[in-house]
């Protein structure tokens, strides 16, 4: 494993430090494998995960293969995972498959993937390998008609913050990071070799199945309902967080006032005592008396805000598509 890290570091060192990935090349078998994995093992709101393998070429990341992770059903999941991964990579190396670990993929339920777990995982990946991405596959959106795969990385700013683990309000203010700057999206391009091209021609010849025009399906209320429900939950979380923060800041300011008052009283007393000729009262440790309240960690708020943003984007995309479809239906009726 050390040698692998060395390999990665040398590869990463060859690139610029900020590792600005312009493009992501995705090979077809990866797409098909991810789709198959979710279809077979991940019904419902279970999340399926797996590892992406590939190469870094100039400023592009080429993902050439992938393998899935088993579900966490046993208790000793951790140990199994690492061993499973090592075995898989070793075996794949024998058959000349790129064994460079370049990222991981995860399926998502209606777009809710901005969570602490994802952040931590992606941070550890990106810390080890500069160019790693997380590929989010949305099966529900895909079933509605168009393949939905998005690749994300953490911005350098967020990497800094995670490194220092400083999630207090002051720390975040220093970094000046907003929820929009948490993840950056890398555009994906699907690439095929010539042989796969021939295969695709074959498939088209042999399978005379009708084109699925799922995309032009008019029913939208189900999807809208679910999305709005999730959005409302998140907004509730957000408001709770805001309330917490408000109470904290109010407590803080109250405490400041109390401290101030105490100091003033002390000074007055001391002045009085001095005027009477008595020794002044000792200066007590103010900090021990007024313990500052704990600032709530702001990371969760940031994540929730990011998630809400994501939901809103998805909903807007969905509604714009549906508006287009509705206008098409109107045109059809108009000519009838």
């Amino acid at each position: 494993k050390e040698q692998r890290k060395e390999n990665h570091k040398s590869v990463a060192g060859g690139m610029k430090n900020t590792a600005a990935l312009i493009l992501l090349f995705l090979f077809s078998q990866v797409v098909l494998k991810i789709i198959k994995h979710y279809q077979e093992e991940g019904q419902g709101s279970e999340v399926v995960q797996g590892v992406l393998l590939g190469l870094v070429v100039d400023d592009r990341l080429e993902i050439t293969n992938c393998f899935p992770f088993p579900q966490h059903t046993e208790d000793d999941a951790d140990f199994d995972e690492v061993q499973y991964q090592m075995e898989m990579m070793r075996s794949l190396r024998h058959v000349n498959i790129d064994h460079l670990h370049v990222g991981w993929y995860q399926s998502t339920y209606y777009g809710s993937f901005v969570s602490r777990a994802l952040l931590d995982s992606q941070f550890s990946y990106q810390h080890a390998i500069e160019e790693s991405v997380v590929l989010i596959y949305d099966p529900i959106k895909t079933a509605q008609g168009s393949l939905s795969l998005k690749a994300y990385r953490l911005t350098p700013k967020l990497m800094e913050i995670c490194k220092e683990k400083d999630f207090t309000p002051e720390g975040l203010k220093k970094a000046n990071i907003g929820f929009e700057h948490m993840f950056e999206e890398v555009p994906i391009v699907i690439k095929n070799s010539h042989l796969i091209n021939v295969l695709l021609w074959e498939l088209e010849d042999k399978s005379t199945v009708a084109d699925k025009h799922e995309l032009l399906n008019l029913s939208s209320s189900n999807h809208l309902e679910k999305s709005l429900q999730l959005l409302m939950d998140r907004v509730d979380d957000m408001s709770q967080d805001i309330v917490k923060y408000n109470t904290y800041s109010r407590n803080l300011s109250k405490q400041q006032q109390q401290k101030h008052q105490y100091l003033q009283r002390r000074q007055q007393e001391n002045a009085q005592r001095q005027s009477r000729g008595e020794p002044p009262l000792p200066e007590e440790d103010i900090n021990k008396m007024f313990k500052p309240p704990q600032p709530p960690p702001r990371m969760d708020t940031l994540l929730i805000a990011g998630q809400i943003n994501n939901y809103c984007q998805n909903v807007k995309e969905f509604t714009s598509q549906n508006l287009g479809k509705l206008f098409m239906a109107e045109a059809l009726q108009g000519h009838n």
């Binding site: 198959k36 499973y84 075995e87 079933a143 168009s146 091209n197 695709l200 943003n309 809103c312 807007k316």
Partner: protein
């Protein structure tokens, strides 16, 4: 001659090429195949003639005899092509070979109308039977049907591209599920092996290991057979098949011709059967099975996107989003409609004889648009649009809200 005979030509060529490769494959290396091919061409002609007579009721009107003659012309043409192919194989001139291959491929891509009409699901019946009639009557239906997912084929192609120096073919294990009447192949992995003239070595440990790992992810998949790239079945294949019969009962053997020796990637499946004189020399014969491609819904959509990478010269395609997807889908439907309209124009102007089943499908198509009173439709449309607009407004509002919150915190 119009649309019906145009696709008749392509159908004929498909079946002819399919037959040729079928008969050439069963035994022997390429050296011996020339002897088996030439007599089979004569059989081809008979076959085409007989099938066309059986297809006559479908192609209405007086097109029977005319398409028969055109079919015979086609068989002559293809026979000529085959001869040229064989001579160039012997003489070893690869340029001629590739040129011929490309010509054959070009023929196969002909006839847009039939393809589009089938793909749009408007009429699968008449054209479908023409295209599929001959190959299925020739292919053996012994044994279960093999259903392959495209992910398996993509993996096979990929492992072929990554093979070691000097290896002429790649083998691997097939995983899947067995049903009563069909075998569904859903996954595969390649196994390293060494093959030379007299011996073959397969890394069995590796295969077992990989299978264990795969089983942890999808416990329902079992070993159902193995695959090999390449055109023929060699003696080594028999040995490997024997090994796999220890792992799975009655394994299937899949060949995928990734070297494109016959201009197509022939993907075929076989089961082994004992043959010979009992008590004396017993041999193994590989009997072919029917191969079908199945997709999950999401796979179908994924494959559709992948198909669109064929057209760009750099074989790449970005993922579009938003309204452009709807626009793309609408454009495709528009294309299909123009083709259908062109066909209708042809029929109306008398260039093509009308086919009743196509007409019935067209009636279905037109009647599918529901007739709703204008007022009701207006109401429905407006309420839907209002819902969508409201949701858009709410989400914009939420986004503005969280942005504000952020700014306030940073103050």
């Amino acid at each position: 001659m119009g649309c019906l005979s145009a696709h008749g030509t392509s159908a004929a060529v498909v079946c002819v090429v399919g037959l040729k490769s079928q008969s050439g494959v069963s035994m022997g290396s390429s050296g011996r195949s020339s002897f088996t091919v030439l007599p089979s061409l004569l059989r081809l002609r008979e076959r085409c003639a007989t099938t066309l007579y059986s297809l006559k009721p479908v192609s209405r009107g007086g097109t029977g005899s005319s398409s028969l003659s055109c079919l015979l012309k086609v068989t002559d043409f293809v026979a000529g092509l085959e001869k040229a192919l064989l001579t160039s194989l012997y003489s070893g001139s690869t340029d001629q070979l590739t040129a011929l291959r490309l010509r054959l491929l070009g023929l196969l891509r002909g006839s847009d109308v039939s393809r589009i009409l089938i793909r749009s699901g408007i009429c699968t019946e008449p054209f479908g039977t023409l295209l599929l009639a001959v190959p299925s009557s020739k292919m053996s239906v012994f044994g279960p049907v093999v259903k392959i997912h495209p992910v398996v084929l993509a993996s096979i192609c990929d492992s072929y591209e990554r093979r070691n120096e000097g290896a002429s073919r790649v083998i691997g294990t097939l995983l899947g599920t067995i049903d009563k009447h069909s075998i569904e192949v859903t996954n595969c992995f390649s196994v390293p092996h060494n093959e030379s003239e007299d011996e073959v070595a397969v890394d069995m440990e590796f295969a077992k290991n990989m299978y264990e790992l795969h089983k942890r992810v999808s416990p329902t998949e079992v070993i159902i057979g193995w695959y090999a790239t390449g055109f023929d079945i060699t003696e080594h294949s028999v040995l490997i098949h024997e090994y796999y019969s220890r792992e799975a009962s009655n394994p299937i053997h899949l060949t995928a011709d990734t070297a494109l020796q016959s201009g197509k990637m022939n993907i075929r499946a076989y089961v082994s059967a004992q043959m010979g004189v009992p008590g004396k020399t017993v041999g193994v014969m590989f009997t072919p099975l029917t191969v079908k491609y199945v997709y999950y819904d999401t796979e179908r959509i994924g494959v559709d996107l992948l198909q669109r990478t064929r057209v760009t010269p750099s074989r790449t395609k970005g993922l579009t989003s938003d309204l452009s997807q709807v626009a793309g889908s609408a454009a495709r439907i528009q294309d299909m409609l123009t083709t259908v309209l062109a066909y209708i124009e042809d029929v109306l102007s008398g260039k093509v004889t009308a086919d009743n089943s196509v007409g019935r499908f067209l009636m279905d198509l037109v009647n599918k648009v529901p007739t709703i009173s204008a007022e009701d439709f207006e109401n429905m449309l407006n309420s839907n649009i209002n819902d969508l607009l409201m949701v858009t407004y709410l989400s914009n509002l939420t986004q503005a809200q969280i942005a504000l919150n952020e700014k306030l915190v940073l103050l």
